[in-house]
Symmetry: C2
Subunit: 118 residues, 2 copies
């Protein structure tokens, strides 16, 4: 079974090195050698990450066999955000509950504090 596009996107993002590669490409095109520089890993290991990103449509690669510079292609990230945004009411509600809880806790503690001072 071929994974659906959204699953491919999320799977490609589920790795800190691949996210760092995308962050580097946000600054401009780069070759495998340039991309490999900041990482304690071999060129082939970086090349493997690039294939995952390419398969997910998150990078475009040049045709020049020698260099094949990679370029960021951010469009699939929009679909990921669109999917996630459906859950915004839930995380906002959960932060609201946390805030209510914390302010209740604070109120309780300041009451206790006043009681102790008397």
């Amino acid at each position: 079974m071929t994974p659906d596009r959204l699953s491919l996107t999320f799977a490609a993002l589920a790795d800190p090195t691949r996210r760092a590669i995308l962050a580097r490409l946000a600054l401009g095109k780069a070759t495998v050698t340039e991309l490999a520089k900041p990482f304690p890993m071999s060129g082939p290991a970086v090349a493997k990450h690039l294939r995952v990103l390419e398969r997910a449509g998150l990078i475009l690669r040049g045709r020049e066999a020698q260099w094949r510079p990679s370029e960021l292609e951010a469009r699939p990230l929009k679909d990921a955000v669109d999917w996630l945004e459906g859950y915004r009411p839930f995380w906002e509600a959960s932060f609201d509950r946390l805030e209510t809880y914390l302010s209740e806790l604070q109120m309780k503690e300041s009451k206790n504090g006043r009681r102790k001072k008397r």
Copy 2:
């Protein structure tokens, strides 16, 4: 190496069944049996997906051994959105380029159309 939280979140979302489970839980708490119903898969297969979601902090599970209803916990999704939003300028630019290209194409075609009519 334990994966970082963001990688755990993205990995958990990289599966259509797990995303469907979250969509079901957005309607309210549910047991494994209830969650398994719409899927052509065994209870244990669904339970495995629930463990992935639980490990990523995307669901909370009740203590009652028999039922253990699952509940949506959307907070980790906010961090995912925050990370993705950093790339918004890039996908917007890429859609702008596409729009420019398409309107240029349309203009060209309507010019050709007028030429043919004469």
